[in-house]
């Protein structure tokens, strides 16, 4: 190949920032993981839905969708002349399906989904602008048992992939908002306080909270392993509404700990970033040594049928982070079949888990050919030979 041709290929290979080609064996690995998780979700009665890639902007960005409005690619529909958005998150789509076409389906309604999403901007921690999501939504119940179910389900889906060292961080995103209102803290001071709490910046919290500094300081100290943080949170002198939220959290913690005692739970009552549209108990999934979040979930208000709000909770897992958290994939064992191999024998090999790679032309040295095609084995005269690969 000449130099000009080479550079032409290189020019074609350049993709827009944050987009990439999935190659073997990673592409197959990701697809298998998605199917495995969907199977776990289906086992709990969550039925799969498949929303379209594009929707009209108004419906895509309604309700919880507003959160990703700035991250949504738009294009004009040449047919209807209306603006469409490319999904940046699938939860709003599933909530829309539940409210509209499945508005009459009995509640609680359990749905799951998997698909690619596209975002306008990556960030330093997640440069990917396109990645796959797998998730589940439980609509029509606000029982603590529903919160506990989705937490456990998310953990189960991840652990079914062999993920070790999972941590679940439980938060109450509406707690601080309620406190700010109860304590008559002005909007400006509230915003400064929120920002300081999000950064766990004790100095800034102290400066912004004024007379209420001890209370917010107490909240900051009620961050950590559930065994320490929850009692610390319960010991705080909180207003009635906040007390109820904490009691709800304790109920969910109790149920999750009973059903899945091996799970590591932490509590963070002040976390709010990324939870702006959550209306109750929410959670983020982490794994030791993995940068970023594996997924997140929590309670939100879905637009319900006839305008009645559906009390909903659910979670979304991010495949890009998840792939980083799992061990590298092993290729399945491959066997090279020289041309003329008996098809019945090839079928037999595939049936027992082999990947068969068929020769298309006669070759002088089948062993070398098997090696060249990255096959660990060669079938010659009906006998399997191991090929030495470097």
């Amino acid at each position: 190949m000449s130099i000009t041709q080479l550079s032409d290929v290189a020019g074609l290979a350049l993709l827009p920032a944050g987009l990439q080609d999935g190659l073997p064996p990673d592409a197959a690995h990701e697809a298998a993981l998605v199917e495995q998780m969907i199977a776990t979700l289906a086992g709990y009665g969550y039925e799969r839905v498949k929303p379209p890639l594009l929707e009209f902007e108004d419906s895509l960005l309604a309700g919880p969708g507003e959160q990703v409005a700035q991250q949504t690619f738009r294009l004009m529909d040449p047919i209807s002349q209306r603006m469409m958005g490319l999904r940046a998150d699938m939860t709003p789509q599933v909530a829309r399906i539940a409210a509209s076409r499945l508005g009459r389906a009995p509640r609680p309604l359990r749905l799951c989904y998997a698909g690619e999403v596209l975002r306008v901007r990556g960030n330093q921690l997640r440069p990917e602008r396109q990645f796959a999501q797998v998730g589940a939504e439980l609509l029509g119940s606000d029982a603590p048992a529903a919160d506990a179910e989705v937490v456990r389900l998310a953990a189960d889906a991840l652990q079914s992939l062999g993920l070790k060292s999972l941590s679940i961080d439980l938060s109450l995103p509406t707690l601080v908002g309620g406190l700010l209102a109860d304590l008559h803290i002005t909007e400006d001071a509230g915003r400064a306080l929120r920002s300081a709490l999000d950064r766990k910046d004790a100095a800034a919290v102290h400066a912004a909270a004024g007379d209420s500094a001890p209370l917010f300081d107490g909240l900051l100290r009620a961050v950590g392993p559930v065994g320490k943080a929850l009692p610390a949170l319960q010991a705080l002198d909180l207003p009635e509404a906040a007390r109820r939220e904490v009691a709800g959290l304790a109920q969910v913690v109790e149920q999750v700990a009973r059903e899945a005692p091996e799970l590591r739970l932490t509590v963070d009552p002040v976390e709010h970033r990324g939870y702006e549209y959550q209306t109750g108990l929410s959670f983020t999934l982490f794994a030791t040594g993995v940068r970023g979040e594996l997924g997140r979930g929590g309670r939100y208000a879905a637009i319900g049928a006839q305008g009645v709000e559906d009390r909903a909770t659910g979670f979304t897992l991010f495949m890009d982070t998840l792939l980083r958290a799992l061990p590298a994939v092993q290729r399945r064992k491959r066997v090279y079949l020289p041309i003329g191999t008996d098809p019945a024998q090839a079928r037999g090999l595939r049936a027992t888990g082999w990947v068969t790679v068929a020769g298309l032309e006669p070759v002088a040295d089948p062993l070398a050919e098997a090696q060249r095609l990255q096959c660990g084995h060669l079938l010659q005269d009906g006998v399997l030979h191991e090929v030495e690969n470097e």
Binding site: L125, R199, K200, D201, A202, A203, P225, D268, A287, G289
Partner: protein
């Protein structure tokens, strides 16, 4: 991925490090002797605590190392935290060291006849383009930033641009260059910072150090 992987504490080189050493000692952390040797080529050091290493990097890089989880703990000024605003960073303890301020400065001659309320666009030399842009945007002024990594005070004298945003502690460098401080953007101190995922996945170990530094900072 196991719990036995060492925690890494990222510390800034230079000025802050001297103030930091007594705090480290109070928290019970003694880095190996080579750490105090400024000419050492070594970048990563063990400490008297098994499972805790320290690294010495530029102050801006502390935030980056910790945000990406390459180090779980670090010490950085809130000037750096404001500039990057990584969502993966928590700053749970104000260490009460490295006091200074982030300020706007300009030549004394300019200051005498300047009317900031008439600005729509200004040009500023700074190490903090994000903070500077945000600060002036809030006042409806577009700030065009020229990124410099040091010797900001030279910019006005050599005519690169007339204003700078820089850290000021005593103000003597400004005065020596005929600059006056016209506005404070933020008061700066050093903070203990932690990686969010590390705090969530290793809450006992990381939380223990947060607690230790909090006690030392309060006692100081």
């Amino acid at each position: 991925m196991s719990e036995s992987q060492p925690l890494v504490l990222a510390l800034p080189k230079g000025r802050i490090l001297k103030e930091l050493l007594p705090l480290l000692a109070a928290a019970g952390i003694e880095p190996e002797p080579a750490f105090r040797d400024e000419s050492a080529r070594q970048l990563r050091f063990t400490t008297n605590i098994p499972g805790l290493d320290v690294v010495r990097v530029r102050s801006f890089d502390v935030a980056t190392f910790v945000a990406f989880g390459a180090a779980q703990l670090g010490v950085a000024g809130n000037d750096v935290l404001m500039e990057f605003d990584y969502p993966e960073l928590y700053a749970p303890v104000d260490l009460g060291i490295g006091y200074c301020r982030l300020a706007v400065a300009e030549p004394a001659s300019l200051h005498a006849q300047d009317d900031p309320s008439r600005w729509s666009h200004i040009r500023i030399a700074t190490k903090y383009p994000e903070v500077t842009r945000r600060h002036f945007a809030r006042r409806g002024v577009q700030a065009e930033c020229i990124k410099l990594n040091g010797a900001m005070e030279l910019a006005p004298t050599l005519g690169l641009c007339r204003r700078i945003v820089d850290l000021v502690s005593t103000g003597s460098t400004l005065a020596a260059n005929n600059l006056v401080e016209v506005e404070t953007i933020a008061e700066v101190t050093s903070r203990l910072i932690v990686n969010r995922a590390a705090l969530k996945t290793r809450p006992e170990e990381v939380g223990r150090w947060v607690e230790a530094f909090r006690e030392c900072a309060n006692a100081a």
